[in-house]
Structures are given as C-alpha cells and as structure tokens.
Symmetry: C2
Subunit: 210 residues, 2 copies
C-alpha cells in the first residue's frame, strides 16, 4: 500500500485529512470531491489528489471520495489499527494533563502504564493508568512491549530515559521535553513537541516591523 518514499510534507498533512474526514463522517456526510475537501481545508484539489495517489486510488470518477471509506484508508495508512501501545515517562503536570485530557485511543494508541519516581504517585492510578516506579521500566516493557514512549520527564534526565526506552524496544519517542534528543539507534523515530518553538513562531508572526 505504501509506495516509495512519502515526503514529510505529505505525512504532516495525513493527520489533518483524517481529522477533517472524521468530522465529516461524524456529521453524517457521505461523499466529497477533492475540490470541496480542498476548499474546506485550504488546499488545492490537485494537491489532495496528488497526496492520496501516494497510497492508492481511493476515489471514483464523477463521484469523488466516499468519506467513510477514505477515513478508513487513511486511518490504516496512519497506523491507527496496528494496536500500538504506549507508556508515559513522567507523571508530573504535563504527563497528568496528557493522561487526563488527551484521548490516546482516538489515535489508535493504548496507553498502558506511566512511570515516575515520586513516592506520592508511584502505585497510584491516574485516569485508570497504573503508575510504576521508573526502576521497573525494563521489567515492565519486557513483559508488556510498547512501541511508543511518551517523554514528559525533566530535561535533565530526558536523554538517559530515552536511551532506556530505546534499549527496551520502543520504536518511537513522543518528546515533550525541550531538548533535542540524541538517540543513536538508527531506526528510532523522534517526534518533538516543542512548545517554545511554536510560541516563538507565533511571536514572530505577530511582531510587525514598527
């Protein structure tokens, strides 16, 4: 299904496609043309057809795309149906906010455990997720493999923990720490969520020359 090398620009648009298609699906819409979808997303019809053609022909001439079907295809492409498991490292404010507010399962990811060092949280459950001591990370992952590690630990321990995650078989790290991780393993994917970078880009854009 996945052809050749898909450019990073396309990969970044896929989740947006999914989100829009899901909204349309939940609103009960049945079909849409690349033209209409483009208008609602601020893209050209050409680009949408070009993007989708990286993965296959999901449309039909004269009809457009069936929304339920296309939504399903894109969720497959995104790996939402692969049963990815995740563990979260760091149950501080941000970690808890993610556990309590972010719906991992809506992205097809199961959050199975959290790890921290603070005695007041180890042993508890947060939003139904058990919190273990970081010392038990390797043992836990040995028994319950996970493909994603969510990193919400302090900056100072980020690289060490990242290394342990990778050594325990994690394939991707969702990095919320504000450092650029240096993981040397070749096939490990790092996805950074750099709040400060985002805010600074916003700051730039609203800072007109006087």
């Amino acid at each position: 299904m996945k052809k050749d090398k898909v450019s990073s620009a396309v990969i970044r648009r896929l989740p947006r496609y999914y989100r829009h298609l899901n909204d349309l699906y939940l609103a009960g819409v049945e079909r849409i043309s690349s033209n209409a979808l483009g208008k609602s997303m601020g893209l050209t019809a050409s680009q949408i057809r070009q993007d989708l053609s990286c993965f296959g022909g999901f449309g039909q001439q004269g009809y457009g795309y069936n929304i339920e079907n296309l939504r399903g295809e894109i969720s497959d492409i995104l790996g939402m149906n692969r049963g990815h498991n995740a563990v979260i490292l760091g149950a501080g404010n941000l970690g808890r906010a993610l556990m309590e507010n972010f719906h991992f399962e809506r992205s097809g990811v199961a959050l199975s455990a959290a790890f921290d060092v603070a005695p007041d949280v180890v042993g508890q459950r947060l939003s139904g997720v058990p919190v273990h001591h970081v010392d038990q990370l390797e043992e836990y992952l040995g028994q319950h493999p996970a493909s994603i590690g969510v990193l919400t630990v302090p900056r100072s321990v980020a690289n060490r923990i990242a290394g342990r995650l990778v050594a325990s078989g994690v394939k991707g790290i969702w990095n919320f720490t504000n450092i650029e991780l240096t993981v040397d393993a070749p096939d490990i994917v790092i996805e950074n969520v750099h709040f400060a970078d985002s805010l600074l880009a916003l700051s730039y854009m609203i800072s007109e020359v006087p």
Copy 2:
C-alpha cells in the same frame, strides 16, 4: 530588518536556531561557523547562511558568528523583546500544566492572567497568575491589553472564546484545542498545537509495511 516575505520553512527554523544558540551561549561558547552549527543541528552550512541572510549579515568572514550577538539578533527577529503579553483561557489540566511548567518568560512573553468558569479556581492564583471569571475577559483586556491568547478551553466553546479574544484586540492565538479555528478577522495569526496530529505522524512513521 525584516526583508520581503520570509518563507514559512525559515520561520519554523528560527526558534531552533535560537534554542541551539542559547544552549551554546549558556555553555560559554563564543563563536561558531555555519559549518559547525549546521553539523550540530543537522542542516547544511549553506542553508544556515541562506536563512540568516533573510534578515541581515550577522557573521564575519574568516571568523563565523559571534554566538551572543547572533542569539540577540534572532531573539529580536522572533519578537522576544517586544513585551508581548498573554492571557490563558481555560485553567483545566492542560492550562495548569502550561502555567506551572512552561516558562513563558523564556520566550519573552508575560502571562498576565488566566480565565475560567469553575468556582473552585476563579479568584485563586496558579503559579502566581490570577484566575478571573471568563465573564470579565473583555473588561480585563480593555485595561490590560494582550497580544496573545492561549486557548486551552473545551472544544465546544473554543470558537466562541477565540472570537471574543480577537474582538478584544488579541493578535495571535496559541490554539491547544483539537479543532481548526475559524476566525474571520484577516490579520489574526493562529498557531495550532495539535497533539493528535503529532502522535499520528509518529504512528505513521513507526508503522512499517508488514
């Protein structure tokens, strides 16, 4: 200082330049060449020189760039010294996590107030920031103008609140809700932090074809 139209690719790299230069600065390094900086950031020296030349010539032949100076120039370019004020809308888990963990001031932004509707939080201070009732938003912003609104409210009220922020003079919205805001005002900048999009991109990248 800001020339022509700076491409979005360049804008997205600027905060990374700042972060790296700041790290080097704090480590006491004095100068760096585009070559060395490129190596440490995973960019080509050419690209760095090309990027910086959008804003001026900050280097010196045979020497490279003075780190303290370049860091300062980039912080200016990013608007970090414009005294931007921000208010945060929604003091739930995510809003609190931002207030307690994210250092707005390190991006040159002052967080002056939070707004919520929950009686148990209105009137309190969180990390030193006073929490007001959303009903007082317009009155507050009338007296304490802010250029940035941080949106951590539930999805259902996001667009309504965004409209009120814009009507009260906010120039940019840092949007943490998982919807695409529809703000019709022309010069308003929306910066989205879509967690799900980020996680799905990661999911795609670790989902090899079987």
